[in-house]
């Protein structure tokens, strides 16, 4: 199976990655039926699929596609629990973009 590239991003990067598949690690803020809001350097709206089970207050990694209005359509969601240091997460994302040649193709 070929896995597509999924660069890690935070909320501010959403507009640069429209129509691309991305990975976001954030804290679940709100659940609204089949939508949720997670906090990843800012609030991100995600459209859940049937398999995703999110818990408020937990960290979750979303892999999904960024759509026109900057929502992410979730393809896979992994619960990371509560022991996540978000400063470390943000540092990773920043490093990713600083040295993006290592991490993803930016055509």
């Amino acid at each position: 199976m070929d896995h597509p590239q999924t660069p890690r991003i935070l909320a501010p990067h959403l507009s640069n990655f429209q129509h691309r598949i991305v990975r976001v690690l954030g804290k679940v803020v709100q659940l609204r039926g089949d939508m949720a809001v997670i906090d990843a350097g800012g609030n991100v709206d995600v459209i859940l699929n049937r398999d995703s089970h999110l818990a408020v207050g937990h960290a979750v990694e979303i892999i999904g596609k960024v759509d026109q209005n900057l929502y992410i359509k979730v393809q896979a969601a992994t619960d990371f629990g509560t022991g996540v240091d978000f400063n470390a997460v943000n540092a990773v994302v920043e490093a990713t973009h600083r040295y993006k040649e290592i991490f993803y193709d930016d055509n």
Binding site: G83, V84, D85, F86, N87, A88, A91, V92, A95, R98
Partner: protein, 612 residues
């Protein structure tokens, strides 16, 4: 009569562009003051300062030494009417003065009372009435305590930025042993208690103060009698004028927390006056060091720091072994936006009366860095503490703290279990350790290392030890089923197996062999040595591979190792031995932050090389 002779308005016109409207103005001498030369001055001659009036204004003048005779002969007297023959107007530190090279006394008028009510020429009124104004000796103002110094207000080029009535106003930054006559205007930021001592040389007492102005800070000490005289004068928070004589000496850094090369020693004649104008108080200045940067600060340096109070311990009393005196101390944990926390100890009254609530911002001035437990801080007796101060750095921290997760973990400078006696705590890479092998000496060196276990040597993993608590001596199986301990002189049916592992670890720079004992061994293998040995014995009987599996399972685990490196000699060849003193599981958040910091360092270097 004389009134008509005097050239009224002459003084003012002298200082206008067109010059005086008469060539030789006639003025009245209203005051004469003698200035004794200061010992050691190059031209040790008496000089005379004369105040002249043209009825409308008065002005200070200096008689050029060449014309001294007119005063010394008694010709020029207070009240005399004089005609200026040769003179030079000068402006010295925003005061207009005249240098008189030649003048003649119009004796026909004799000596008269001061005519009229002349005013000072300047638009600036004479300085504050009650303050000591050294320059202005005109009039009958009694000079309150400290007498004005004999001034040398010669029209030489003064480099002092004196803005007030005090001449020679120096910035604290400019003080040096080479400055002769100086005055500083500074705030007393802290005053120590009177300290007394007695040693073979005799007894004495002293107290010291820290003085602050806009340019810097300096410490000043007074001894014995001077201490008695000055102690009641100084108050914290009050601005003073301090004038020479006062010795400027090299600072004794071990007593002071201030970054000044020099310090002051008050003498009997040093002048200390409370400043009338208490406005423009120089603010306490901090030069903060981020808690995250502490590792790069040398131990025993004095720094300032600010952080949020994360933890407060109870006050404890400890007795100093050397002096048998009791000290109260309290440990605080401070954290800041570099995601690091550090222990800070406060002493004495500050510790006892500490009341700041958790999560308040506290700024510390005069904190000593020590390498106890990695890095820790101690508030010096000359230091100070401000809770929730109104300074930018504090507001920034408050903003940061409110924004981040309140329970964010901070990496600390402490080892998670206290290492014996504050040994060095460098986190090293395997490549560095191997490079430094040649530097190993007989004394062991300590370091930290983060690596993963690659392989555990499974030939001998444990030794049989005495079962008596605390005794780990190897026991000998003299009879089957009976293990004998020499030390305890006792026999045991079963030994207590203890790990003595040799294993290979790796990080991204290389591999190396480490050895460890039971405690660490258990963490690596995941079971007690007794159990492991049991399985080994079972294997031999049942021809199973369980033991090997267990050894395999022990691999690929990362740990933080605390390693002692020592040079040992085996059969005449020296070989470095690396022993694990302690091992800790990884705190991933902490490690991630450490790595993030490392990455940031690349950024700094990059920017300096490339232009984006």
């Amino acid at each position: 009569m004389a009134e008509g002779a005097i050239t009224q308005g002459a003084i003012q016109s002298i200082f206008q562009a067109s010059g005086c409207f008469v060539e030789h103005p006639i003025l009245q001498c209203v005051q004469i003051k003698t200035m004794e030369p200061k010992a050691g001055e190059p031209n040790a001659v008496q000089r005379f300062r004369v105040v002249l009036s043209d009825i409308r204004n008065f002005i200070q003048t200096m008689i050029a030494t060449a014309a001294n005779e007119i005063v010394t002969s008694g010709q020029l007297k207070k009240g005399s009417i004089v005609r200026l023959l040769k003179y030079n107007p000068q402006r010295v530190k925003d005061k207009n003065i005249l240098i008189i090279m030649d003048l003649e006394v119009l004796t026909q008028y004799g000596e008269l009372e001061k005519i009229g009510q002349p005013e000072a020429l300047e638009s600036k009124p004479e300085p504050q009435p009650a303050a000591i104004s050294g320059n202005n000796f005109y009039g009958s103002k009694p000079a309150p305590a400290p007498q004005p110094q004999p001034q040398r207000s010669l029209p030489t080029h003064q480099s002092n930025p004196g803005t007030s009535s005090h001449p020679h106003l120096y910035p604290i930054e400019g003080l040096s042993p080479y400055a002769h006559k100086w005055t500083i205007r500074a705030r007393c930021t802290s005053k120590s208690d009177m300290k007394e001592w007695a040693n073979q040389k005799g007894s004495g007492k002293l107290f010291s103060v820290n003085l602050l102005d806009d340019t810097g800070e300096i410490r000043a000490t007074a001894f014995t009698e001077v201490a008695d005289k000055l102690y009641p004068i100084f108050e914290e928070g009050v601005v003073y004028y301090i004038s020479a004589p006062c010795r400027v000496t090299l600072a004794k850094k071990n007593f002071s927390n201030l970054p000044n090369d020099y310090e002051l020693q008050f003498e009997r004649d040093t002048e200390v006056e409370k400043a009338e104008d208490q406005e423009n108080k120089p603010q306490i200045r901090f030069n903060f060091t981020k808690i995250g940067d502490l590792n790069s600060v040398e131990k025993d340096t004095t720094i300032d720091t600010v952080g949020i109070l994360k933890e407060v311990a109870e006050v404890t009393t400890i007795t100093s072994k050397t002096t048998n005196k009791d000290f109260s101390k309290r440990e605080l944990t401070m954290a800041d936006d570099t995601q690091t926390a550090v222990r800070l100890t406060i002493w004495g009254k500050t510790a006892e009366s500490f009341e700041a609530p958790l999560e308040s911002i506290i700024a510390f001035k005069g904190v000593k860095v020590s390498d106890f437990n990695g890095r820790s801080l101690s508030l010096l007796s000359s230091g100070s503490m401000l809770v929730d101060p109104d300074i930018d750095e504090a507001h920034k921290l408050r903003g940061w703290f409110n924004a981040t997760d309140q329970n964010a973990t901070f990496s600390t400078y402490q080892n998670t279990s206290s290492s014996g006696g504050g040994s060095k705590n460098d986190a090293k890479l395997i490549s560095t350790i191997l490079e430094e092998e040649t530097y190993l000496q007989d004394t062991p060196s300590y370091m930290s290392l983060r690596a993963s276990v690659l392989y555990v040597r499974n030939t001998t993993v444990a030794y049989p030890a005495c079962s008596t608590a605390g005794c780990n001596k190897k026991v000998i199986e003299d009879n089957p089923g009976s293990w004998w301990c020499e030390k305890c002189q006792a026999s045991f049916p079963e030994p207590n197996w203890r790990y003595v592992l040799t294993f290979n670890v790796a990080d991204h720079t290389g591999t190396m062999w480490l050895s460890c004992f039971d405690e660490a061994g258990q963490a690596i293998v995941g079971m007690s040595a007794n159990e492991a040995m049991k399985i080994k014995i079972d294997d031999e009987e049942n021809n199973t591979q369980k033991f090997m599996d267990i050894m395999q399972e022990a691999t690929c685990k990362p740990f933080n190792f605390r390693v002692r490196a020592k040079m040992e000699t085996y059969n005449e060849t020296p070989k470095p031995r690396y022993q694990v003193m302690n091992l800790y599981p990884l705190n991933y958040a902490q490690e991630a932050n450490k790595l993030a910091q490392l990455i940031k360092q690349y950024e700094i270097n990059e920017d300096s090389l490339f232009v984006h």
